[in-house]
Symmetry: C2
Subunit: 186 residues, 2 copies
């Protein structure tokens, strides 16, 4: 098993190759710089489409089949009986990177995300994946370009190190492969 | 064009046939009793699956292809450049009817849903489709079975009448048919 995919993978303008833990012919899944809850990952088309309606039927089908494959593995690893699945499809709905990304967020009772929390985080600065990646890459444009959410716990959390993310991606890559034999169940 | 689909369609325990404006071999789309924003609709598998991972690949593909078909028509009708697409996949993530439903919410600048609002509504009582339908059907179990959201404007709004929903469903059914010639573009 290689430590990371050989192919260079871009999420919008950002190179995220070493954060990627699963690829298919049309789709990749990556770990987050600042997950809202443990196991919060993103699933994207390999081609940088801005809107869901820009995807071809094979790309769209593969995207959501990949979401469900990832859900199976995350359910097992995190003991999560539920998930929030969310797409901010365009800037006016909070999309911060102009590249389709499906948020997959494991949920369980007592996880602190009850009621309005997860989606408040998603809409606020906590969920601003673009701001986080710009911050990581430093330089001009770093920091959020969106308004601050009411639940701005964001400043209390540091972006995870590349080593930490690569370790998580490697772990998830192995666990996804263990579950690959189960794809016939799908 | 018949005024409503001939087939009886159930959303969880609720009969919603006359609210349905589009069907495919595996999927139906229905108007909401209390839309969070204009054009807020739901897309569901015809078979009552609880979780996304319960859908077969053809059902899953058809579900999200239908989401994008509905998005095209809603974009044209509501002038919406963006959408929130959300699935509460299990009770612990806020699912109030144990039947997969994809929320499709048109968004545009100045629609009042900026920042955290849409998802706060979705998570709070405003978005409790189960509570709304139980309320509509009256009797035991009416009213929300979930906690009250912070943005509980819900009591200020009355459920829409069946006549109003049927009129919207009929309108959307006709508009979807106008766009059907464009499916080859997908």
């Amino acid at each position: 098993m290689p430590p990371s995919p050989a192919r260079l993978i871009k999420f919008g303008p950002f190179t995220v190759t070493s954060q990627v833990f699963h690829t298919t012919p049309h789709t990749f899944a990556l770990v987050n710089l600042k997950p809202l809850l443990p196991g919060h990952i993103l699933v994207c088309p390999l081609t940088q489409h801005k809107f869901l309606t820009d995807l071809s039927p094979p790309e769209l089908s593969d995207l959501f089949l990949t979401v469900t494959r990832v859900q199976r593995t995350l359910k097992r690893l995190y003991g999560a009986p539920a998930f929030n699945i969310a797409v901010q499809d365009g800037a006016e709905s909070g999309q911060s990177v102009p590249h389709v990304h499906v948020h997959v967020i494991p949920r369980k009772a007592g996880d602190g995300g009850e009621g309005d929390k997860v989606h408040e985080w998603l809409e606020g600065e906590e969920g601003d994946v673009g701001g986080h990646l710009r911050e990581r890459d430093g330089g001009a444009g770093a920091g959020s370009q969106r308004g601050k959410g009411e639940w701005a716990k964001d400043e209390d959390r540091k972006p995870r190190s590349m080593e930490e993310m690569e370790a998580e991606a490697g772990w998830l890559r192995g666990e996804m492969e263990k579950d690959a034999g189960g794809e016939g169940r799908l």
